[in-house]
């Protein structure tokens, strides 16, 4: 049986997996408004294809943050204050992106639209980059002292070759995932081009994933004691990637989307498996690690939260799935475009 601390670690992991799987594709679609769309109508089709979903997708991140705060206050406090500057940038990106979707279509001048297009593109590119950096740093270790305070330098501790490779991997992964989502949601030429671009990105993505995997082996200590499990996960990630490539080539878009999603989900699961039973690794001294025990809330609080979360989650999943069902029709140039 899982202890409550373990259960909440898994729940936080699941929330992040859900976030990257779902918001991952709308980050990708956001980026592709800048590189795939040829004209305003195509951009609008792309934005409308994620229109009903992106906001709820982002809530997965908020819920993950809330769950960390409630279940592991020390994790929340150390991580959010320690990564202060990257999180400021993340917030600026998410703020700009969110209003840009709503504002873009409200005024019909080229300058207005162009401005918000830039915001949508940057706002969709920065979050996977920054979060990729943060996750890579998490398994690499950070200067956390005895008082659980993380005093990290922006360059070196936070931004380093390894974390940048991690961030770039996440960006390209989200972009490919988003392109596959696009193939499912649009028609015609735009759909064909999305598939083609995804195909072209497969090789660079493979290089990034392989580089990140290899660097993870040398840069981190997470393989110690669970080399087998993590290697198996690595192999499964590689397999999912290969299958994604095969399905894209065969134009089995639904399956391909499932596989790019699987690569994302497994990558996040890999991070969390690597961390366990720590939640943050200290590069100063192992004794300063934040763990499932010393970072957690008390048993009463965890019990209350477990009851609340387990009774609410089925409803949340239910109506989110329903909303995808309601909007299962493809979006095209003749559709009523809300944004």
């Amino acid at each position: 049986m899982l202890s409550l601390n373990e259960l909440w670690f898994v729940l936080v992991a699941v929330l992040f997996i859900g976030f990257f799987f779902l918001e991952g594709f709308d980050f990708g679609v956001g980026m592709s408004t800048g590189i795939l769309a040829k004209n305003d109508t195509e951009r609008r089709v792309l934005i409308n294809s994620i229109g009903p979903f992106w906001d709820a997708n982002e809530v997965w991140l908020l819920t993950a943050g809330g769950a960390m705060f409630a279940a592991f206050p020390n994790w929340y406090a150390t991580l959010f204050s320690g990564f202060y500057t990257p999180l400021v940038l993340l917030l600026l990106a998410l703020i700009g992106r969110g209003v840009a979707f709503e504002f873009r279509g409200k005024v019909q001048t080229a300058a207005w639209k162009k401005t918000w297009d830039v915001v949508i593109f940057t706002g969709s590119l920065l979050p996977p980059l920054l979060l990729g950096v943060v996750f890579a740093d998490l398994i690499r270790g950070l200067p956390i002292d005895q008082a659980m305070e993380m005093k990290a330098g922006f360059f070196g501790d936070i931004v380093n070759l390894y974390s940048v490779v991690g961030g770039l991997t996440m960006v390209v992964l989200c972009l490919v995932h988003g392109l596959m989502f696009t193939t499912l949601r649009v028609t015609g030429d735009l759909q064909a081009r999305a598939r083609r671009l995804a195909e072209m990105l497969l090789a660079p993505l493979a290089v990034l994933i392989a580089a990140f995997g290899a660097m993870t082996y040398f840069e981190t200590d997470i393989f110690e004691g669970r080399a087998f499990l993590l290697t198996v996960m690595g192999v499964v990630i590689a397999a999912a990637y290969v299958l994604a490539a095969v399905f894209i080539a065969k134009r089995r878009d639904g399956w391909a989307f499932g596989m790019t999603g699987a690569v994302i989900a497994l990558t996040i699961a890999f991070f969390f498996t690597g961390l366990f039973p720590n939640v943050m690794i200290s590069s100063i001294d192992q004794a300063f690690n934040l763990t499932l025990t010393n970072a957690a809330s008390g048993p009463y609080s965890l019990k209350v939260m477990t009851i609340v979360a387990l009774s609410l989650l089925p409803f949340v999943l239910g109506y989110q799935i329903w909303s995808y069902f309601v909007f299962h029709k493809r979006v095209h140039e003749q559709s009523h475009l809300e944004y």
Binding site: P52, G66, F69, F80, M305
Partner: protein, 471 residues
Amino acid sequence: MDVVMLSRIQFAATTIFHFFFVPLSIGLVFTIAIMETMYVVKGKEEYKRMAKFWGKLFLINFAVGVVTGILQEFQFGMNWSAYSRFVGDVFGAPLAIEALLAFFLESTFIGLWIFGWERLSKKVHMICIWLVAFGTVMSAFWILAANSFMQRPVGYTIHNGRAEMNDFLALITNGQLLLEFPHTILAAFMTGAFLVTGVSAYKLLKKQDTAFFKKSFAIAVIIGLVSSIGVALVGHQQAQYLVKTQPMKMAATEALWETSSDPAPWTVTAFIDTKNQTNTGEFQIPYLLSFLSYSKFSGEVTGMKELQSQYEQQYGPGDYIPPVRTTFWSFRIMVASGSLLIVLSLYGVYLAARKKLDNRNTWFMRLMLFAISLPFIANTSGWIMTEIGRQPWTVFGLMTTADGVSPSVTAGQVLFSIIAFTAIYAILAVVMVYLFVRVIKKGPYADNATQKSYESADPFDKEGVPHAVSQ
């Protein structure tokens, strides 16, 4: 400036800004839900048009409310990590529940509402907007449950050097919450209602779409009257509760240095000298403070000097008097704005009932346009009083604000984020006002023509003739 001061400035600025949009969202979505319900029940297209027109304003506002809310959730950890460690066990739970119960509901069903006009049946579509409304109210409940813990900590024990939850039920039946929640929600309904009446008044003055805006005005002014009276009634209960739970805040609100006489008079205005701890030029109404504090015309109210020495004995040496001038004046600004709103909505309801809503009442309509600002002023000053009046505490009696700040964050980092957030918020504010004015000027019938072409352009439409969208 030090990290504490900078962090306080950032928290205050971002929270005040966020709370311009939140009450308006809560209030507008409630008003829109009522309009759409009338559409479903009565079947008149006009109500649908109403829901859509006010919905446009709501959506612009909602977007800004949502994105500025993300920052709120992050900055407890970012800027107040010591605070987060100390209270996370208690305080984190309502935040997590808010996300699970409210944020998911709002965000999913707002998507269904925006994009679902043609995809969902009338009734299901109406249920969607009610679920969004329910979500916004739930969101308020849980964040206020967290805030109420800061005002009056309950359901916890100090263990391992931090506050740990030991009674969840106590947390959500906190007396503070049971008053703070209805007060805030009613104020939010009021905010939405007075935006609708104000905009309608403007359009009536301009003699544009008068039938539409008379009806909108009539619906909203009733919501405005009921909620503004409700806010005042709950507010009176809150004052009595405040005397019992946070007497220092009450004394500061009244600039009461010495314990009052019995019965206690209410000071309307005064020149406050915080240095010498005395007031001059007081203008007082006899009996009224006793009434405010105890609902009877007798009883003394303890002054700040006496409380200061009590607190020194209880909590050790320190200055336990909050910024008196700010607390005193913000309370008065709130009460004055609220009272004015009651009077205005009373007269508005009278005009609506007598079917006299037209541009003959020029002065009144102009006042109603100006009154859009009053709920925002009241909301903001109410929260300034609540939060400034609690200082130096962040959690009353348990932790001071200065102790809550992140030790690992530097003043330079906070300065950078203040500048960045202020800049982006300023842009948001300008763009939002610009878009609001545009939507209002265009009016509810602006998109008639384009709307038609969109609808027939849908190839899944029975009589559809596909052709490209012109925009």
